[in-house]
Symmetry: C2
Subunit: 434 residues, 2 copies
């Protein structure tokens, strides 16, 4: 294992960094077309189409659509049958995630003006949301907690979950996590057909207002295509970590943090920025020494080789500057004084400050959400949160006197824009004429 080395003082560094951190998730036309036809079909034929696709893609034959829904006691049983240590860990994580997200709840507000006019915004939860959970190999109960708990905290009444069960094989961990997170109903469907059912509704699966949760390329394409009919969360790209180190952290810890990103996926990106070339050397040695001890060695090695880098920077300030350009999903400040860096940082999904703050704590149980903006979208996007399951309505209650004050302004501006009905609609409220 030889890690890529970059140096910010060399000619061509900027271009190299851009090339390394670019990830062009070009749309796959074939996937788009397949997905479009599945969506249309489920929209038109409902449960009938849903059953057919489930049979074809998940090799699961179900006699009637109602049997796609799991009985409620399946969830509670899954939780009760977990080994005690696992159940306790899941419960503690759920509790901490809930406590953190309680701080995010938005509140309605209103102000009253001198003439009696009241203006404000009302905050209400979404009625019903759908959580997509992948089936098969990647088993992520933590993802259920991170997606469902914010919706529950927001006050969403109806949290539905869809999860494919290929050949009927259920994932008990995922069901146990659902039981803990406020999920109300679970349907054993997946793929674009599940997204279609959630977006348009079928006789069995009611239409939702927003769909969240990770999925494969088909699921991602389906979410993009139904966006507008329903809300969606961000479509996630490969996961990323950027570590800024001052050389004071055990290099083996940093190596393990890079691994924990790289083990997700061969496309995942793990970068280390440090002013001290000796420290970069030590981390590389730790990488070489520790890599063979990890079950997912092959994935880690490919991810680090293709997309990883150890980057020597002039100083920590430059590291922060580069990090702002990259806007990483996860940013670790593995430095003695993270307070010095924080004011310099503008864009990151989550910032892990200080050497004890490993990303893995945030992935599972610290409390903040692990659904974070990837691919430089932290420049404009936020972690998934309670605010994604609430929405605002502006409320205007204009007094009789206010109708004159405001109407006089509105009339001038409406006429300026050539919208005479707007002008007269405002004016009739304070003039004796319509």
């Amino acid at each position: 294992m030889k890690m890529r080395r970059l140096d910010s003082t060399t000619v061509g560094f900027d271009a190299e960094l851009v090339r390394l951190t670019s990830f062009d998730s070009a749309l796959d036309e074939q996937v788009e077309t397949v997905v479009r036809s599945i969506l249309q079909d489920v929209r038109k034929r409902g449960d009938e189409a849903l059953l057919e696709y489930t049979q074809r893609f998940d090799r699961l034959v179900v006699a009637q659509a109602e049997l796609l829904e799991l009985p409620g006691d399946v969830l509670t049983r899954a939780l009760e049958e977990l080994p005690q240590s696992q159940r306790r860990a899941l419960e503690k994580a759920a509790e901490r995630i809930r406590a953190f997200h309680e701080h995010q709840r938005m509140e309605s507000w209103s102000v009253r003006e001198a003439d009696g006019t009241e203006l404000g915004q009302r905050v209400t939860p979404l009625d019903r949301v759908g959580l997509y959970v992948p089936g098969g190999k990647a088993v992520y109960p933590s993802s259920v907690l991170m997606n469902a708990i914010p919706a529950a905290v927001a006050g969403v009444q109806d949290i539905l979950m869809v999860v494919p069960t290929p050949e009927g094989v259920r994932n008990e961990l995922v069901l146990a996590a659902a039981a803990l997170s406020g999920v109300r109903r679970v349907f054993t469907v997946g793929g674009a057909q599940a997204i279609a059912a959630l977006a348009y509704g079928t006789a069995t699966i009611p239409a939702v207002d927003k769909i969240v949760g990770p999925g494969n390329a088909y699921v991602a394409a389906a979410k993009r295509q139904v966006f507008g009919v329903v809300g969606i969360d961000m479509v996630a790209g490969p996961s990323e970590i950027l570590i800024i180190a001052d050389g004071s952290t055990d290099p083996r810890w940093v190596a393990m943090d890079l691994f924990s990103q790289a083990e997700h996926d061969e496309l995942a990106q793990a970068l280390l920025l440090c002013p001290d070339p000796n420290y970069l050397e030590q981390v590389e040695q730790a990488i070489v020494a520790l890599l063979p001890t990890l079950p997912r060695q092959a994935v880690i090695e490919k991810s680090l080789a293709d997309r990883g880098a150890l980057i020597r920077v002039r100083d920590l300030a430059e590291a922060c500057h580069l990090s702002n350009r990259i806007a990483p999903e996860h940013l670790e400040l593995s430095v003695a004084q993270p307070e010095d860096c924080l004011p310099l940082l503008r864009h990151a999904g989550a910032i892990f400050a200080g050497r004890y703050s490993s990303e893995s704590l945030g992935d599972y149980c610290a409390g903040p959400n692990h659904v974070l903006p990837t691919g430089r979208t932290a420049r404009f996007a936020s972690p998934l949160g309670v605010y994604d399951f609430q929405k605002r309505s502006s409320v205007l209650k204009v007094s009789r006197e206010g109708a004159r004050h405001l109407g006089e302004i509105a009339e001038v501006l409406a006429l300026q824009e050539g919208l005479h009905a707007h002008a007269r609609s405002a004016a009739c409220r304070f003039r004796n004429e319509v």
Copy 2:
């Protein structure tokens, strides 16, 4: 002019209402393809392509790309040369919009736990945003105020505006509004090529982090296609109003409110719900009487005929229930006691409570934003606001003791998910082994 009449007590009402309020904005494949090629071209050839498209679509020949930028004094001059009454109205509107949006600024927060661990979220503004303003006939200075002021209140340093100037014709009102709203630079480009320039950047126009503002089908398609590279606001559908009346408002006022929606666009939708059939009759008479007095009579008539309706409901509670299903962009409660309705309402972009609260006041100057979710998206989306120009980063500062508490949980869950590097990254912080 004969208005469509519906009655909630008749058989088939539900289906008819669904048909009337559905608007399927199917993607136009040809537009998508044209836009895709323009985006790629500007991305590749930058200013050169931008100048060519500007010449072709806006019939505007510019010798070099820098001349696409308007000198800063053009804006201030446009403001100074406005007639006094118009300038005052624009300034008052800007002031009120700013004051309302000040209430929306999100704040950072952080909590400290017993073991010294600190968790929270930092809120930062976007660095740079681009505001698209249509050129040509539809001249909407109010749209500049509504899009730019929230960005300015959020603390966005760099607010750029693009506005096409076909054949070099500038709109002084739009420039005056830009001068009042904190817009820093203006480029006279439009169409998909302007969106491409904002998303990817050229030598002249810097890349932005988010693009907002209305536009035609090409602009909308371009925004959709660059979403992910940059953030975008919602792609708006036809504008809508739903009025709930108890019969206590002058029917001519209500007629004028329906007109003010319908005059926007032949696809706009204006609905009136009332339990009193006599009142519906009176409103229809007012419509017939007033329609010929309006300059945009033809547009209004087509909009009302195609998509409008006077709907008799059982009572106000049923009207609220139907309104929740429709989730209108604008909802007027033209009733004596709006307080009775408000608790029943869950989904609407903006609620205008009481007979003095005409939508037109909200369109221009009351303070709340007039960029609102359309096409039932108020079920999950909110008015444009300061919060759209800010984003959050989670911050985790885990103490040494916290690394043990949290690490023990994370280790169990990571092993459960088969992610061993995650488990060891957590565990090495509290065990004497890596």
